[in-house]
Symmetry: C2
Subunit: 638 residues, 2 copies
């Protein structure tokens, strides 16, 4: 930066005023939004974008560019204003804020090329920033990661998960700024302007903390410089600001959160005041033109190698969670972009098999699922292929992050072990019985649920390269290998394990219930009843045609059985898939809160063992007199 | 406590040894569990239960008894051992640990009368403890609340939400103990035995922190006394301990988490070592007999008063979120047990209408949804009727808490506002599109979704007194009042809004889509097609008979329409309900990640507006040639 501070500071001040004006105008034009939240952050944003960060406005995805995450996503208008000011797009576009055909949404999403992850659910951006900072290490880049938080946002526990993790990892390439404007949505924050209360927290968590006046450009410049000099730990700049700064009638006032100025007198008055904020500045200073560009660093493109195939024998007893670990280590060998994230259960999920081979690509988050998933979002956004895993039930801790990952459409590859009552004695707190519902609810999450070692390995390789977020459910008990090592699988596929030309029902299971279905098959066969058995290893997408075909071939009798609660899981997935053919589904699932016990006792007690399947088949065949009508066979009349 | 310390300390030491022995024996008998985690906590547990807490082992639910929450739920065996030692049940029962017909589950659940909330998902018990401590204020009791955390557990962000909230609320009746045994499941914790790193965190968050040797009974006694003397803020006792204390070959060693000693030589050796820990102690000291009982405090029983009825006119435009606030304030007037919890959006959810009238029963958690729900769990467990509310999408932040509330079967009454794309311009991060799936997945959560002001008020009153957890979904836009103030509703009910004897389809909506369905009805009627329209305000439980009846009366054509993603919501709920009659359902729902825009634009863009309903009805009627067969009408053959 060749510019003298005497020129730089007034130029930045004026740029901050322009950002305020753009934020105020665009929100008034939209009729909604958060102008006062933008105004408190304007001096920090101007200084960060036009005197600190190294980036190319015309190449926002440059791998070596400094990154910025707006954790306080409701300040989106000033983010857009800053990028427009930098030249990424035409400022006139700002007036389309929040319109249905503009990508300038109410809160930032990666529809915009300069947004890595969607924000707007507070406390998440800072977690993603950790993944982005870790990615710099992964690709050996010296880019820095900046993240702007709101002060109210720091009540979110995820912020402190992030604080622990970033300090533990010594992320000195990460710099946070908290916009301490002292006002939340409904009232003052817990801390008001007590800067000591906030800085003491960050210091206690191992960060370098700097308290400044967030409207003092010189202080902001100094703080960024100090952060850059800080070695071995991340920095949090706590910027004391005034919400609505620059518009006297809202400055520091409650009741103005998330309110645009009304067009007309109110807006005019606000703009008139902001116009008066411009200060004399040297002419000819063009800050956007002075933004330092990231160095062009040629990197060898590493092509993924073939993945070592499964090496089981039919009948081998292996838990899918263990096969997951084996597969992850193999995938890591084949592709250096693959990283794994753990929440202190790597020796249960078997992600420790990856850690043993690739300790540098294994990120331990200790018992903190939110930052694990959030960090994975950041890593995925920057080109890694991250596999965060924990007990499936504890992924529910990060559901809001999973939701935002879906909105971001980032390729996080989640795995949840210890699914269902089949975990046994540990009891319901450790059993995932809603994880399929949780992940299936998001329309763009791929949901896979293998039953044996071979399918686990094959599906893991597929999910790694399938675009967008994905979830694999694994089980605790050992199950026999039923597929040959050469068997092929597809996302959106299924396997028909048993069939004949005289099947009178289709039984559909996944994971451990495949084996209950196979036991039921044997028992039914012994009593002269043939049934079709399907392993539905891909729940989303789902093989609609295959399911309808099976249902129609078996008299319309379809019975699903799942180690999951009844709503939102395998049964519902099948039911929707076959509905267009007029077929209905009988669901066996866990229908009450379970308890501790032996796995086989629990499968039976909660209605999903072979015995229950046999009973259901017999009952359905008896009830299901001749047939269901379907659109495809309009042969009946009432 | 009349006992001299010279007698008390050796007696407690020996009691701790007994607790260790019971924990080791019971887990070995079960073949699984966490004996080493119990051993580190034994001295704290012995001192807490037999020299600090005031309770009646034979009346564990006494409203004035001190409360204990085992936040590190995997130490369940020592909790059970302590209660058995106190005389709550026969020690022999400990040997049934983790068996299917014993309530001594792998992790504690309220099947046991001395457990308030289920634990086992780390970082939750401390949040529940806040609710329990707040409850003491509510009922004007001087009982104290104790909560035991693991050190690894403090990586969970929810612990720091709790830390903020308890300090902000000045809960000096709350005393936490962290069992700092330095070992997590897969490795050492982030902090190892750095007691300063941990205590600095609690101090920074406003707690009184005391560091002690957690195996020094005198130090533990002193710390509890100091905590009791501490005014205006909660206390955290950081107890430095050794995992596996008392069994030399596992003490402080990695690789022993969650492993029972093998029966035979390994167990025998462990027990032999523990037996040697007994110290000479005065004879005749019976610690359980010395436990101070809570004072008998007669309380006036306050009967709930009648709730003021709704006071709308048909056609009034009112958002259900606003009606929720009105109803909550009325309910609060009628029943003093009702409390409300907020996460800094009370002016959007309208829970601020309650706050204005009952500020003392309104608990502000700022932007921290986990502690809001966790605290509600604690309040519910102690007799309050808590209504935690926030934007519905942000309840996903607390999904693991909701899951544990379901396991606990505690009566938390959640409300989520701003459901669906109909919120408009704020964009997808603020839209709840998976909340119905999330809550419906839990089999014991009541799920309600009113469409107008009257039904909101009536359903809120019902949910308050319906046992167990419940969720109400409210909407942002204003909708017309369609029910008279005298209309009656039922949990598990529905309303048929339009019907004729010649209906050729059933349209089922809820919330905002009821009005799209009514618009579609008018358009279809104008083109000569009669349809039935149902307001499915109760999704769980659901009126199966009513839905089947409607489906069968309308040629088997059922179309659902919901402002929610396709999986796990209203469509799936209806589909399962009607499946037993062989009926299938056509679902209109949001099937991709939405974006910012005007509410009506979004309803249309994402396929759930009246136009789409009309199209679907026409298509289904055309496709759905004569009829579906069903079990009830076995009239067809193939």
């Amino acid at each position: 930066m060749a510019l003298e501070r005497s020129s730089l500071i007034p130029a930045l001040k004026n740029l901050a005023t322009r950002l305020r004006i753009d934020s105020v105008k665009s929100t008034s034009e939209a009729g909604s939004g958060h102008p006062t939240t933008c105004c408190s952050a304007a001096d920090v944003m101007a200084t960060l974008f036009f005197a600190e960060m190294r980036f190319d406005p015309h190449d926002p995805k440059n791998v070596d560019a400094d990154r910025f995450v707006l954790s306080k996503g409701h300040a989106a208008p000033i983010l857009y204003a800053a990028w427009a000011e930098a030249g990424a797009f035409d400022r006139a576009e700002l007036m389309n804020l929040r319109k249905i055909d503009s990508d300038l949404e109410g809160h930032p999403t990666p529809r915009l090329p300069f947004v890595d992850v969607a924000t707007g659910s507070l406390g998440q951006g800072v977690c993603a920033a950790i993944g982005i900072a870790l990615n710099a290490r992964r690709i050996k880049s010296d880019y820095r990661t900046y993240v702007l938080l709101g002060d109210g946002e720091t009540a979110e526990g995820s912020v402190w998960e992030a604080a622990n993790t970033a300090a533990h990892d010594g992320l000195d390439n990460l710099c946070g700024i908290t916009d301490v404007n002292a006002l939340g949505q409904s009232r003052a924050t817990m801390w008001d302007h007590d800067m000591e209360a906030l800085s003491a927290r960050w210091r206690a968590f191992g960060w370098h903390a700097i308290v400044i006046d967030g409207h003092d450009i010189a202080a902001i410049l100094d703080a960024f410089a100090e952060a850059k000099r800080t070695v071995g730990r991340p920095t949090m700049i706590l910027a004391r600001t005034i919400k609505g700064k620059g518009v006297s009638f809202v400055e520091g006032k409650e009741g103005w959160h998330g309110k645009a100025f009304k067009k007309g007198e109110e807006l005019d008055r606000a703009l008139a005041e902001l116009e008066k904020e411009f200060v004399p500045a040297p002419v000819g200073v063009n800050l956007p033109a002075l933004i330092p560009k990231p160095a062009a660093r040629p990197r060898a493109v590493e092509s993924p190698k073939p993945i070592a195939p499964p090496a089981y024998k039919l009948g081998d007893e292996v838990a899918t969670r263990e096969a997951y670990g084996v597969a992850l280590a193999k995938l890591g060998e084949a592709d250096s972009r693959v990283v794994a994230l753990d929440a202190d259960v790597g020796n249960s999920t078997f992600s420790d098999k990856f850690e043993k081979v690739f300790p540098d690509r294994f990120f331990e988050n200790f018992i903190a699922e939110q930052v694990m998933v959030g960090s994975a979002m950041g890593l995925a956004a920057r080109g890694a292929i991250p596999f965060p895993s924990t007990f499936a039930c504890f992924l529910s801790r990060a559901y809001d992050f999973i939701r935002m990952a879906a909105i971001s459409n980032v390729g996080i590859k989640m795995a949840g072990s210890h699914a269902g009552v089949s975990i046994g004695e540990d009891g319901p707190s450790q059993m995932a019985l809603e994880d399929l519902a949780m992940c299936r609810a998001e329309p763009n999450i791929t949901v896979l649920y293998p039953c044996d070692g071979v399918s686990t390995e094959k599906l893991l390789a597929l999910m790694a390269y399938h675009p967008g977020p994905a979830y694999m459910r694994t089980s605790r008990p050992k199950t026999p290998v039923i597929y040959g090592n050469d068997e092929t699988f597809a996302i959106g596929g299924l396997k028909v394990l048993r069939e004949s030309s005289s099947d009178s029902a289709t039984i559909i299971g996944a994971g451990v219930t495949v084996f209950e279905a196979l036991k039921a098959y044997d028992q039914l066969k012994a009593s002269g009843v043939n049934v079709r058995v399907i392993d539905l290893y891909s729940l989303q997408p789902i093989d609609q045609a295959g399911l309808i075909k099976a249902g129609q071939a078996t008299g319309g009798v379809i019975i699903t059985v799942e180690d999951h609660y009844a709503a939102g899981g395998l049964g519902d997935a099948v039911a929707e898939a076959v509905a267009s053919a007029g077929l209905a589904v009988t669901r066996l699932a866990v229908r009450e809160i379970p308890r501790s016990g032996k796995p086989e006792e629990l499968l039976d007690r909660f209605g999903i063992s072979a015995r229950h399947i046999v009973d259901a088949v017999k009952e359905e065949i008896a009830n299901h007199r001749p047939a269901v009508a379907s659109r495809q066979s309009p042969v009946v009349s009432r």
